[in-house]
Symmetry: none
């Protein structure tokens, strides 16, 4: 569980109710499912969770951070780290896993909503980078680095751009929805990357 809630008081006074915490997150998940990110209001979360609005604000400064926490749990649970032994296998597994998590799911719709929100709220953007982009990227980076270690690809490979190509294309289709995230898409993209990776293979 990714913790965003601002640090609770040290010891004095009544401790924060874990029951409220759960009620809030459950209500959030429920509303996300029924209405989506845009139409979720703190007011309704409070109502459904039978919780005062202040109790929510005490933990999460904005709707974005609240939803982010709810999202992270679901997202991470669905992103198994595969080690297939080959770069192609690992990349394909990663991309396919991402597509499975995202395509036609509440998690996917929430991801889209969060990315939109991140553009509107600089504070959320920071959380987003620190707790989502960087950690997930670190995982994916490991795939490439393993391939370098295995000698599959040159050590001069630009890891960042490789990942931007792989997931950039995927996020592009998710956000512009001009074309679907088919499995063929995943395969062709990965093949493209693999080929593009080896500039001096024949040399």
């Amino acid at each position: 569980m990714v913790e965003i809630s601002s640090a609770p008081a040290p010891g004095r006074g009544r401790p924060r109710s874990e029951q409220s915490q759960l009620a809030i997150l459950n209500a959030t998940r429920q509303i996300l499912e029924e209405r989506g990110f845009v139409d979720l209001t703190i007011e309704e979360v409070a109502l459904r969770a039978s919780v005062g609005k202040a109790t929510i604000y005490r933990r999460w400064p904005t709707k974005g951070t609240l939803v982010f926490e709810s999202f992270m749990f679901d997202f991470l649970a669905r992103q198994p780290i595969a080690d297939t032994g080959s770069l192609r296998g690992d990349l394909l597994a990663a991309l396919r896993g991402w597509i499975r998590t995202v395509k036609g799911t509440v998690t996917g719709r929430t991801l889209v909503g969060l990315i939109a929100e991140v553009q509107r709220d600089p504070e959320l953007a920071e959380v987003w980078r620190d707790r989502f982009v960087i950690p997930v990227r670190t995982q994916h980076r490991a795939i490439i680095e393993r391939a370098i270690k295995r000698g599959e690809i040159p050590s001069t490979t630009d890891v960042d751009i490789t990942l931007d190509l792989l997931f950039g294309a995927a996020y592009h289709r998710l956000l512009q929805s001009h074309l679907t995230l088919s499995d063929r898409f995943a395969q062709v993209v990965v093949d493209y990357i693999i080929r593009g990776l080896a500039p001096d293979e024949s040399t």
Copy 2:
């Protein structure tokens, strides 16, 4: 100029004031510059343009469509179509042109705001696809198709995925802002694509 304003009646009644139209778009551009998409309100546009709110709503159903129209003018004006003779040259010109248009500019910030808005407003999403994504993509598609005609790349090339890789990576950096849109980025990406494009180079 891309026209979104809901179609006015053919000849009957008082015609829509072109002066108001311009005043509204100018006010919009001004506020976008000063405050950005998120903090732009229809109310202020109306105030600055010395126009009734209804006059705005009569033409554009939402803030999104209004900003879109203002954005399109600026964006298209900055996207010159280059024909350098080589695929590499054309792709690089296109990507560099996009980066120049977008990096550190009001147009870029507005683009980000619009992409966010598109995720929240399904009606805007439609306009967005029909008037932005598809037209721009058609232009870029021409680059690839020229290369095919020239015999530079195989005719079996998947044009869509090629473009998704190229611009997907770029939009990814724009929206996640985890890394900058440097010129080196443009070069490496294009090289990647070029290499990836030619599966049967040796054949």
Copy 3:
């Protein structure tokens, strides 16, 4: 028909359309029936009458004057002047006629609406006094004066106060609707007035 419409031009130019005039008054009457004075808007009258708003404003400066004209026709048509030969008979006829015109009728509801409007619009108030209050009062005054001529009541009778008592009580019940305008009410009021009128009967 009471004419309020501001005087039309003498001869030059296209004459005002009598058809439009009628269409407007009909639409007005219809809406008064369906929705009542408060919810009648010039906009809807124009729409229903298939007439430009300006065509209405050219004739009647306000909603009040328009409705007033429509009202007057109906009201006057239902106020027959009775001459029964006795003061009691005449007063009773007048009061009963008024109650019949007003109780549970569109005309009555419109009268109420107009009296309300008169309190809000000083210009309408003037029209109201000149074209409704004074003419109607003149008619009623004649009843009293006939009785004086017949020697039924002293010539020192305060006609105004007599009428204010008679109709004041009636309007009071109409506007406060605390009690109904029954026929018994009419009889008792008239009897009261008749008795009150003769201070020096025995002298």
Copy 4:
């Protein structure tokens, strides 16, 4: 003070601010004085009282009910109950008191505005009857009933019609403003009533 504000919750939640309540009523009174009922807007009351519009709407559903509460305080404060010992004295005191309260005063203009509003808003009409018409009438009814007890007038007297005559005439002049509410008017009206009351004087 007549309370109209929709009933607040018993003890839970933050209690309604008495300070806001007073600020709203003061602003209302001020605007009534400066501009009158018609030109009073909730928007301006909110502005002057430094209060959100919602805070007003939470207490009073309409402009009518708000003004009503402000009016009642002033009106009741100026309606002293006199007991002069004679019916004539009591009626004259009541009528003169009413005229004094109403003639040329803000309270009078507000009363007129409210009566007009009552004709336009059925919900206000209910409040009006329950909190103004009936209570005031009950007071006046007491005058007549005292006279009956004293044996001054027969016990068969129709109290309602008596009051409708007395105040009906007065409201009539107030609303039609065809004639002034002079003191002579008050005297003649009362005399009329007194005479009319005693049908069997000679018996």
